[in-house]
């Protein structure tokens, strides 16, 4: 990949300070998002993938806080801004949030207000971020905004957009509601879209429709997407670049083909193996990852994956934390099987 990244996350750390102790939900995560590309972040529950995206929008709720790291986002004007340093209630993040960086949340039912029509809510967003539509300045009138929403609804494949505009979210089916949510996310022409498990709550045939829509929109508008999911099938079909996370750290990252066809980290390999496929032997024991996810207060020392790793090196993996380093083929892995660099202690 060449050129300047749109977003560059460097050594991000998010800590939740609880009475029982502090939890390192995101513990030194780095990755780049290039303009117009889809980066998939995969991992099991508790790996910190959702917290990472919340940090990008400065939406980490207390007692969580961004403890360290940088997130350089290149704004429309060309200047880079460190999202990690912005005041969560400040003017600059409010200009970016929802406008330049938009979010498609997991649960469209919980994300729309039930007492306003979906149209009203999108009109409000467009008028609030009028700059995205009127770069030269000036407001967007209510009727202009409504016309934009009708266009957007048509774009995301909602039939009878004029009528749907005046529906409440609870009157729409799951598929339509997620389409309306996508329309809302696109309403301010974002340059970066964060999709947090956008199809987890919907059925497989509707999921296929929504994924096809996202692929199509991405191609036409050239929006960069950070796609969060636990579903490896969805990642394979959506992402061009994949980041695999475990316990708040990046285990491996690389081009989607490399991650699926020559995974280098034992965790990635184990994850791919443990998934029942649509071909191959049935009713046989699946390869599993031994043990369970450690409790957040009980983080293993050294490499977070070493207690469950089949290839752990005695005397090494439990003592030091491997850093993410290139391992060839455009991939990077944090694993002592491939390099010897550890985090400074």
């Amino acid at each position: 990949m060449t050129g300047e990244p749109l977003l560059s996350v460097r050594d991000l750390k998010v800590v939740f300070g609880l009475d029982e102790g502090s939890v390192r939900a995101v513990d030194g995560v780095s990755f780049d998002v290039m303009p117009g590309k889809v980066v998939g972040i995969v991992g099991e529950s508790g790996c910190g993938k959702s917290v990472t995206t919340k940090a990008m929008l400065q939406l980490v709720d207390p007692p969580g806080r961004i403890a360290a790291g940088e997130m350089f986002f290149r704004r429309a004007g060309g200047e880079a801004v460190d999202l990690a340093r912005l005041d969560p209630r400040g003017r600059e993040i409010r200009e970016i949030r929802g406008a330049e960086i938009a979010l498609i949340p997991q649960e469209p039912m919980a994300s729309f207000s039930p007492v306003h029509t979906v149209g009203e809510q999108i009109v409000e967003a467009i008028r609030l971020h009028a700059r995205q539509w009127r770069p030269e300045g000036g407001a967007v009138s209510r009727s202009d905004a409504r016309a934009i929403v009708v266009e957007l609804f048509r774009d995301v494949g909602i039939s009878m957009p004029e009528q749907r505009l005046d529906s409440y979210s609870w009157q729409l089916s799951g598929g339509l509601r997620q389409r309306a949510m996508i329309a809302m996310a696109l309403s301010c022409k974002p340059r970066l879209l964060i999709a947090d498990e956008p199809t987890t709550a919907i059925d497989v045939t509707t999921q296929a429709q929504v994924l096809a829509l996202l692929r199509d929109l991405q191609k036409r508008h050239g929006t960069a997407i950070v796609f969060i999911t636990h579903d490896l099938g969805v990642i394979a079909q959506m992402a061009s670049h994949v980041v695999v996370m475990y316990l708040g750290r990046v285990m491996e990252e690389g081009a989607v083909d490399a991650i699926f066809h020559s995974p280098r980290h034992p965790y990635t390999r184990a994850l791919l193996r443990s998934m029942p496929g649509m071909h191959g032997e049935t009713r046989v024991a699946l390869p599993t990852i031994s043990g369970t996810l450690p409790h957040p207060f009980n983080r293993p020392t050294g490499c977070p994956f070493h207690p469950r790793c089949e290839e752990a090196i005695a005397g090494r993996c439990h003592a030091r934390v491997p850093v993410l380093r290139p391992v060839g083929g455009g991939q990077s892995a944090s694993c002592f099987l491939h390099h010897d660099e550890a985090e400074a202690t």
Partner: protein, 345 residues
């Protein structure tokens, strides 16, 4: 429907219907019915796993609830062969008559967090069915619970802990131990792994297969995840708007689906291989409401092969080849696309 084993089936379901009334106004007049389960029939052989798949609202859960007699069906027969060889119809039985059968037909729930009583220790949670079934001696119950915990891969010492101390996968094991406490013959598992992460899901699927082998259990496995159903089932029934549209051995239904809906469903599953392209979305539109299904074949408005007859007359489930039944007029002449072969690593 021929039986692969030849022996009498353990459960024979015929013309099962469950309608829920739609009531309106102060006099609670019935203005219509939701036909949640509408003429469902299948056999379950002893020792096999029958998978029941379909999208939300297709009636798979209602079907399983009727078999468990958690609700009374509107009409139909559910002939269950008892341990002594006699056959009993579960449909008309009263609560009192059902009581001795409850021990033989057990259930594994979807949500491992909601299905265990948080105020009861594992001993009380797993041991309660034993108490209800007359095992009054505490020491005897302790021995049995210890044996059950060992059976599902948990340490017997955990008996005096509360559910909150366990992870999702461990809780699901506890739920399985409880279901097995009464030595059931038929186990209805409704989405038993859908709340679990990929790596834990593989562990629980392996446990279910192992237990089935060891205890000669019969599973009715309800799920929406096709790769999971494919992995665990001997035969699969696909449901659409309250009806079975296709029923066949796992291999034949996945390799050569004969109903256009089954084919579309298989096509919609995202393949976990970036080299296999997603292709076109086959299914447009949405699942019709079971309160107001379309005339003729319920699938005709979304079916690319539908003709005049499909819009007029409703097809019945008929046997195409040995053990392969389908509810479609055109099944013989359709060449349905099967998802591309996955390039294995």
């Amino acid at each position: 429907m021929s039986s692969p084993v030849g022996a009498q089936p353990l459960l024979r379901v015929r013309n099962l219907r469950k309608f829920f009334p739609i009531v309106k106004g102060v006099f609670r007049r019935t203005v219509g019915h939701v036909r949640a389960v509408d003429d469902v029939g299948f056999d379950v052989q002893e020792g096999e796993t029958l998978g029941l798949v379909g999208e939300s609202g297709c009636g798979k859960t209602t079907t399983s609830r009727c078999i468990l007699r958690a609700m009374a069906p509107t009409s139909g027969e559910m002939l269950y062969r008892r341990r002594d060889g006699s056959t009993v119809d579960l449909a008309p039985l009263s609560r009192r008559e059902l009581r001795p059968l409850r021990a033989e037909i057990q259930m594994i729930f979807q949500d491992p967090f909601g299905s265990l009583n948080p105020r009861m220790t594992l001993f009380d949670n797993v041991g309660e069915p034993l108490l209800v079934n007359g095992m009054l001696n505490r020491g005897e119950r302790m021995d049995r619970v210890a044996e059950l915990l060992r059976l599902v891969g948990l340490r017997p010492e955990f008996m005096h802990r509360f559910p909150h101390a366990f992870s999702g996968g461990q809780r699901q094991r506890i739920g399985i131990a409880r279901a097995l406490s009464t030595n059931p013959r038929l186990v209805v598992a409704d989405e038993p792994v859908s709340a679990l992460d990929v790596s834990v899901q593989a562990q629980v699927l392996n446990l279910l297969l192992e237990l089935q082998e060891r205890l000669r259990l019969t599973f009715l496995f309800v799920a929406h995840d096709l790769s999971v159903v494919r992995h665990i089932s001997d035969r699969v029934a696909v449901m659409y708007v309250g009806q079975i549209v296709e029923l066949a051995p796992t291999k034949s239904i996945f390799e050569r689906p004969r109903h256009p809906y089954t084919a579309a469903l298989l096509k919609a599953v995202p393949v976990a291989d970036p080299r296999v392209s997603a292709g076109d979305v086959l299914l447009k539109g949405e699942v019709p409401s079971p309160a107001n299904p379309p005339a003729g074949c319920y699938f005709n408005p979304r079916c690319p092969f539908a003709d005049e007859r499909c819009r007029r007359e409703a097809p019945v489930l008929r046997e195409l080849a040995s053990g392969h039944s389908v509810r479609c007029y055109h099944a013989e002449r359709l060449e349905l696309a099967v998802p591309q072969e996955r390039i294995d690593l």
